[in-house]
């Protein structure tokens, strides 16, 4: 799905978070959103997902303003797994709560895809490490075969080795399944590795954009200092 965002504005009370955002998410490509913590990256993707309403501007999904959000999926920053449910029940959440029972095979094959051992099938999220939670949350996001997946800081809070593994996994998943991906990160290494196009948000507007492979050659001063600050 191609998503075009034009002059998007969004505020909370007196807090103008998105001042004027225009960007294009290309079909079956991996788009990276970069920016300092608190600049509105999560708000932006949740607005695209229709979890938030916006104040002005437009968002077109394949040219239309209406969209069935069941085609979307999101990997939340800390996984957002449901604490009271087992990993398998989390992954097959919608089927599980609607009392469908034959989800076991699908869950196991997804767990295999994201590199989770089947021994944690009946475990609870609190028993898992950060990296495993991310994997389980990714499996849950993939369960409904989304057309577009939103990834909110998939590697934040993980050690470098696990970050690398999660990046490889994401890359594999989105290319193999032909999913349009929108990822938030402030990790330049992840952006170069997993992204096609990048957008850099600063002070509520898009400061810089381009090809992920050319991030390090950027001429934008603010983005440059962000890259240095991010200790690439």
């Amino acid at each position: 799905m191609k998503i075009e965002i034009k002059n998007l504005k969004k505020k909370f009370n007196d807090n103008f978070v998105l001042k004027d955002i225009s960007l294009t998410i290309e079909k079956n490509k991996s788009t990276i959103i970069l920016g300092e913590s608190g600049c509105g990256k999560s708000v932006l993707i949740k607005t695209i997902y229709k979890l938030f309403e916006f104040d002005s501007g437009s968002i077109l999904y394949d040219g239309k303003s209406e969209v069935d959000i069941d085609k979307f999926s999101m990997l939340f920053q800390y996984g957002a797994l449901f604490d009271s449910l087992k990993i398998s029940e989390n992954i097959a959440f919608t089927d599980f709560i609607n009392n469908k029972t034959n989800f076991e095979r699908k869950v196991l094959s997804l767990m295999n895809d994201v590199g989770l051992n089947k021994s944690i099938f009946d475990r609870y999220p609190s028993e898992l490490s950060g990296g495993m939670k991310k994997r389980a949350a990714l499996a849950r996001a993939l369960y409904k075969n989304p057309k577009v997946i939103f990834l909110d800081e998939p590697t934040t809070g993980l050690d470098p080795i696990n970050s690398d593994k999660i990046n490889d996994l994401i890359l594999e998943v989105i290319t193999k399944r032909k999913i349009t991906a929108v990822s938030i990160t402030h990790d330049i290494k992840s952006a170069i590795k997993t992204g096609d196009n990048y957008y850099f948000i600063n002070d509520g507007i898009i400061q810089d954009k381009g090809d992920c492979k050319k991030i390090l050659k950027t001429k934008n001063k603010i983005f440059k200092s962000f890259i240095i600050g991010a200790k690439y």
Binding site: K46, F76, T94, I97
Partner: protein, 255 residues
Amino acid sequence: MKFIENIGKFIIKLFSSFGKFILFILFFFKYLFKPKFYLKNNLSFFVNVFISSIPIIALTGIFSGMVLALQSYTGFSRFSAESAIPNIVVLTLTRELGPVLTGLMISARVGSSIAAEIATMRVTEQIDALKTLNTNYYNYLVTPRVISLTLALPIFVTLVDFIGVMGGYIVSVHRLGFNDNLYLLNTIDFLSLGDYLSGIFKAFAFGFIISIVSCYCGLFSDKGAFGVGSATTNAVVISSVLILSSNYFLTELFF
């Protein structure tokens, strides 16, 4: 000037929260009649509430009944009206203390945990996750809690009434020297179904108040760990105040 401005801001916030709360209740009823019933969810919540609340319910009942007998003896012995104690105990318990004390205890025990749980879900984006998984949080979170608690409270109140009368009986017979058969006879004779039912009606109302307020406070909590704390406090304070104030009007209704 700053001071007046702040007062103004506070009042505006108060009214907008009140409006949001009313809207929340309306939505609750909308989804109640458009149900997508998650049976497993409902049942497990009801059982949980039940098991976790029984001990404090029993303690509340027994000590209220005991102290009630003792205190009314102090007063009534001055007019040599000790024989009214069984009546006073059972009447006060069923009409007043049973529902109100149960309501306050349950708002502290269950209301706070509902608010904390849902606020934590809000902070950790589980509420957002529900929406991305095509699940409405009224159906999944609010309805089971409100229905469970609204139905559980009358049962709790009945228990408190019963255990409370037993407490009064124990103190009256073993401490104050009442005849045990006569005490029970007086209790049963005097109690009318109307007394009991007026308390049960209050129990339904309080169960609804506690659950809907706690869900609201949890769902609309502020971000961060601080948000979870204030959601919990708000849930208990607001439902307690609403219980105490609505209690007066419900009593007027049955006067």
